[in-house]
């Protein structure tokens, strides 16, 4: 199993470790609920160095990225970031990712750890024109700082942190190494993500912990990362997204710029736009105390109308919550979820579960 540069740090902090995306990663330190509420109320620091970074550069890089992904890459200025996908020819999702425009002809894709190798092969096999494709995932660490106090914590370390606006980034340095300091995250809170070379990852982590000590910063594991993203209704690859689901079913149609010109998957998506989707992604808040789980059937009257993709306990709502794909023709505000053969009712709600 792979380890991030922070593996020993996590062990010293008493983390419970788990396998994720081929890495030995921290599941939790003090406990998922405590960590979750720390991010919502103060700030938390995450090691997400397992995420992949694939660089695309060269004379034809822009045209290539525009062909490869469905969002409008040309609308990004250098220093801006954008949520997008790699899609297959059927419009299914190979991965979801953030595209960072580093320069006029240079881009970084931040991709899911478990998909990095698949994505890299996919990108290579679709190579067009004069481009250089470089998978630097094993050389780059990623530290995320999330929560309402994250600005106060990062400003003493990066003097320009304040000027980095949401979904933009700056190229900075830390101990002589280049850092991409990005105002992005996966929690719904204000926050930063720092892409930094492996040799200085531990130093930067320690500096952030020190800067954040008086603000109550805590290390946060993947357990709370999952509950934080679930409360925001953010999709997770392998749960809401997979190679047979289009972004249109997942309420992510806003990412798809169907008229920008041809891209991989555009023909298939045009047909979906024309005919409509069969299933749509909804949020469900349980009426009682029961907690829905992945793959629980969703029912309306006597009919099975779908399946839970993400089901968990929401620490902010103190309730069970679920994201589920349900038949698009069902308009009911209340559905049942079959949890271990007992039907529990829940209210269908607009995502996100909590308003930020």
């Amino acid at each position: 199993m792979k380890r991030t540069p922070l593996y020993e740090t996590h062990r010293k902090l008493g983390a419970k470790l788990m396998e994720f995306g081929g890495y030995d990663m921290p599941l939790q330190y003090t406990g998922i609920i405590d960590e979750h509420l720390t991010v919502r109320n103060k700030a938390g620091i995450f090691d997400v160095s397992h995420m992949g970074e694939i660089f695309i550069s060269g004379k034809d890089a822009l045209a290539f990225c525009e062909w490869l992904t469905p969002n409008h890459v040309a609308r990004l200025s250098p220093g801006q970031a954008q949520y997008s996908f790699l899609l297959n020819e059927q419009g299914g999702v190979i991965d979801d990712l953030i595209i960072y425009r580093l320069d006029s002809d240079s881009f970084m894709f931040c991709v899911n750890a478990s998909n990095t190798d698949k994505d890299y092969s996919w990108i290579l096999s679709h190579k067009k024109g004069k481009v250089i494709i470089d998978n630097r995932s094993d050389d780059i660490g990623l530290i995320s700082v999330q929560g309402p106090l994250s600005g106060k914590i990062m400003e003493p370390i990066f003097s320009d942190a304040h000027d980095v606006k949401r979904f933009t980034f700056k190229t900075d340095t830390y101990k002589g190494r280049q850092v991409y300091l990005s105002r992005t995250g996966y929690t719904g809170e204000d926050g930063y993500e720092c892409f930094v070379d492996n040799p200085v990852v531990v130093d930067l982590w320690n500096a952030i912990m020190e800067s954040g000590a008086s603000y109550g910063i805590k290390p946060i594991g993947l357990g709370a990362r999952d509950t934080l993203r679930a409360e925001m209704g953010y999709p997770l690859y392998g749960m809401e997204l997979n190679d047979t689901t289009t972004p249109l079913s997942a309420n992510l149609g806003w990412v798809i710029k169907i008229d920008k010109g041809p891209f991989v998957g555009s023909e298939a998506l045009k047909s979906v736009v024309e005919h409509g989707v069969n299933k749509r992604l909804v949020g469900i808040i349980m009426n009682g105390k029961s907690i829905p789980r992945h793959q629980n059937p969703v029912q309306w009257k006597d009919r099975i109308i779908g399946e839970v993709t993400t089901g968990t306990y929401s620490p902010s709502l103190s309730r069970g919550i679920a994201m589920a794909y349900v038949d698009n023709d069902v308009e009911s505000n209340e559905v049942g979820i079959d949890i271990r053969s007992i039907l529990h009712t829940g209210a269908v709600v607009q995502l996100p579960f909590i308003k930020k």
Binding site: L27, I32, G223
Partner: protein, 129 residues
């Protein structure tokens, strides 16, 4: 990890405490640590009969669901309703406030001898990691 000497233990990480004619049952410190934050507990109603090793409820943490198995055969005479309102007691006080059921056991002597004592249970947990 706490393993009180006066209790008996199952391989599924329940504990049993003999208190005169009744036996109280809960889950161990090792189990609560593995589960993480417990947020929901379901237990069979009082009056239900359970056999040794049979399921009497479920305990859910944020991330996972585990069944609860009775260490002994008998009738459930009491359910800890306070615990159902405060599942976090399992993490805070697994051998005290987080007792789950009281049993009128059918064959205390015979069945208790099949459970592990504290030393054996501690060894069992260390081997499990």
């Amino acid at each position: 990890m706490q393993v009180p000497k006066d209790l008996k233990y199952t391989k599924d990480h329940e504990w049993a405490r003999v208190e005169g004619a009744t036996v109280s049952v809960g889950i161990t410190d090792y189990a609560q640590d593995k589960l993480g934050d417990v947020v929901f507990i379901e237990i069979e109603n009082g009056g239900t009969r359970v056999k040794q090793g049979e399921k009497f409820g479920t305990v859910e943490s944020v991330k996972s669901v585990s069944d609860l198995f009775s260490p002994l055969s008998g009738k459930i005479t009491d359910v800890n309703k306070d615990l159902l309102e405060h599942p976090e007691y399992v993490n805070k006080d697994p051998y005290g406030k987080a007792w789950m059921i009281k049993l009128a056991a059918d064959a205390v002597k015979d069945e208790m001898s099949q459970l592990m004592d504290a030393d054996a249970y501690e060894k069992y947990c260390k081997e499990a990691g």
